[in-house]
Amino acid sequence: MSYIDYILKVNDLSLDFGSESSKTLHDISFDLRKGEILGLIGNSGCGKTMTSLSVSGLLPKEARITSGNIIFDGKDLLKLSEKEMRNIRGKEIAMIFQEPYTALDPLKTVYKNLEEVLTEHEDLTKDERRQRITGMLRRVGFEDADIILGRYPHELSGGQRQRVLIAGACLLKPKLMIADEPTSSLDTVTSMSILELIKSLCAEFRMSVLFISHDLSVVGGICDRVIVMQSGKIVDSGNTFDLLYNPINPYTAGLLSNSRLDPKILDLKFNKPSFSSECILRVTGLSAGYESSRGFRKVRNEVIHDITFKILNGECIGLIGSSGCGKTTLTRAVSGLIKPTSGTISDMKGRLGVVFQDPVTCLNPSHTVKWHLEEPLKANHIKLAPSELIKVTRSSLEAVGLEEKILGRKPSQLSGGQRQRVAIAMCLMLSPSLIIADEPLSSLDTTSGARILDLLSKINRERNTSILLISHNLRVIRAATSYVLVMDNGRIVEDGPTLNVLSDPKSECTKKLLLAEEKLHQNPDRNQFMTE
């Protein structure tokens, strides 16, 4: 007989916001075994966050649990008082979230931020606390733990802050850790290191993890089993190996292909320029940077050095590199926002369009879509007859897959994916010869992201527009680009046809990126909990 030890059992959990129509969770049932890492996957709005909040008891006031129970370590959490729940939080159940800037109190040092976990649940002397915290900081990867203790959150990078938060979550060796999209805002290399950390902590402390994400393929490297949610229901579940290799459920298969960006399935075809194509942008020896003032003096900070490359007509070229390598600065220099210190940008034929990463801030909240589309024309002093204007507007909207009725709407009335498309449509109004897309998929979930990429491929094919695609996600690059530039520390360290570079990397940097990607999306080799 096999006996499986459960740490968490959720039975028939239903949740709404006060009325039948606002039902967010429908009879959710799943279980989590001791020491297991369970993935909870789905697109935005599927209910995964609500599920995790129900377990930790941190639901918003308006939420109402209408049925079901949550058995944690033998106790029904829904029947406990708030005081009893507070005892459990931080000590037996810990949570880590997607890392926005202020998950740590900005006025307190790292030490003070972490100390409260200990003072809340245990009686230790100051020295004991200091020891424990320093020890845990070392465990999560800070070699200079003593120095980090005295740092403030704004002095740390995104990855470092997430590590601090993980340290805080593990200080009391909780039985269950709920990780809600912990790596979604981090780049590939950092994400991989965070996931490795979680995996090793889980093994060392025999901690169970509920891992929430929207990217099905990421969980391959970390989860033992996976549950797939859609619209508040569980539509698929099983061990990771089966789900990733033999997805039976069509929804799961769809998520997987969106995430993998397999061009055969998604019909992503980008142009491959021939040797005789003309060059539409040539950058030679470009260096640029920023100025900042320290007191009275101005300090010059050179970020990119000696960049040389060219873009051909109709080509889709990729730019990869880890955070801080200078990709954004390069974009700014090429698009004219900052003046280069040296080097030239020449042979620029036609106009330039830029698409930014964040769909929230890419559109002006006070103006309608129509205004946004007309503004590029006004700025360039292009006067069109009203009938011409309508034609151009219509074709731009059609190219991005939006309907005309969207013209009267304001950004607050659009979804993230729609806003991203309006941003692309804005570029199209000028019939640019080159579109620079800076991490256009990073803030969208996999399904929306795949659609945007599809969109870009159509534009590239049908209008012969060149695209400079910047991304830290190698799958995107592989699927879309024919030529790729690799940047590290402000310089181009490698470049060449995409397939060549990514299958036979020559520089250390490229090798590191590929390794990270492999580990992130790796397929699990075994499921260790078949029998106990």
Binding site: L337, C362, N364, E375
Partner: protein
């Protein structure tokens, strides 16, 4: 998405309407002559013939209050307009261009702000004599730095956002960026400041009138009426109560409206 109208907004608008109405009535000359003195009916308590009583010179208080409404409204709106124009332009330039311009403008603004509101207006009026015009520009000047500050903070926040960067890439004319791209977004933040500014300006003006440096007799604003009434406060409390009431209603109305607008954020 339907916006619910806040009860604050409704109450505030009603209050404001009362004042506007009294202003209109005053302009139309309804009621008895505010400047007609009558020694026979000095200091009479409110009655049917004198709704708010009479003052020490026998003038009908109701009529005086009505006629004073227009000065109050005029001064506060005109003053705020002056402050708004100066403050918005200064704040926009300081915020958008930054660097040395920012420091210069902020330095100027700080120097003006160092004279507590009323003080500067008092000095300005003491220097060039009390008149309606002087009161307006003095108050406007004093309130401008506050608007400039609020505006500048907003502009700085907005100018780093992607859609402004995008506009710069498109090579939109900087003036157009400031006026069309940034302004509508920053303005929303200023609205509460404007309403509070209207209220504060009224307070300042009434304080100045109280001290004899605002509008000159026979014109009167609420503050002037109150200052005249001070010595009779125990004998004829209605002289103080009614003008105070009007003043409070006006200011409360403005505050409630500002709450109502901000409440939706």
């Amino acid at each position: 998405m339907r916006k619910k109208i806040s009860p604050y907004f409704i109450v505030g608008s009603i209050f404001l309407l009362v004042i506007v109405l009294s202003c209109i009535l005053g302009l139309l000359g309804a009621g008895p002559d505010p400047e007609k003195t009558n020694s026979a009916s000095k200091l009479m308590a409110p009655s049917m013939s004198h709704l708010m009583g009479t003052d020490n010179l026998g003038r009908d208080v109701f009529a005086r209050v009505l006629s004073a409404s227009k000065y109050t409204l005029l001064i506060s709106f005109a003053g705020v307009t002056v402050a708004l124009v100066i403050g918005t332009v200064a704040g926009m330039l300081a915020g958008y261009f930054g660097g040395i311009w920012d420091r210069i403008i902020m330095l100027l603004g700080n120097s003006v702000m160092c004279f507590p509101g009323i003080l500067l207006a008092l000095v300005a009026v003491a220097v060039s004599g009390p008149s309606l015009f002087n009161v307006i520009w003095a108050l406007g000047l004093v309130f401008a730095p506050t608007f400039a500050r609020v505006y500048r903070t907003e502009v700085i926040k907005i100018k780093g956002r992607d859609y402004i960067l995008h506009a710069k890439i498109l090579k939109v004319n900087p003036i157009r960026i400031m006026a069309v791209h940034i302004f509508p977004n920053a303005f929303a933040q200023i609205i509460p400041a404007i309403v509070i500014g209207l209220a504060n300006m009224t307070l300042s003006e009434s304080a100045m009138s109280y001290l004899g440096l605002g509008v000159q007799p026979p014109k009167a604003s609420y503050g002037k009426i109150l200052s005249d009434a001070q010595s009779y406060i125990t004998a004829a409390p209605w002289l103080v109560i009614f003008p105070s009431l009007m003043l409070v209603i006006y200011i409360l109305g403005l505050y409630f409206i500002s709450e109502g607008i901000r409440g939706d954020k």
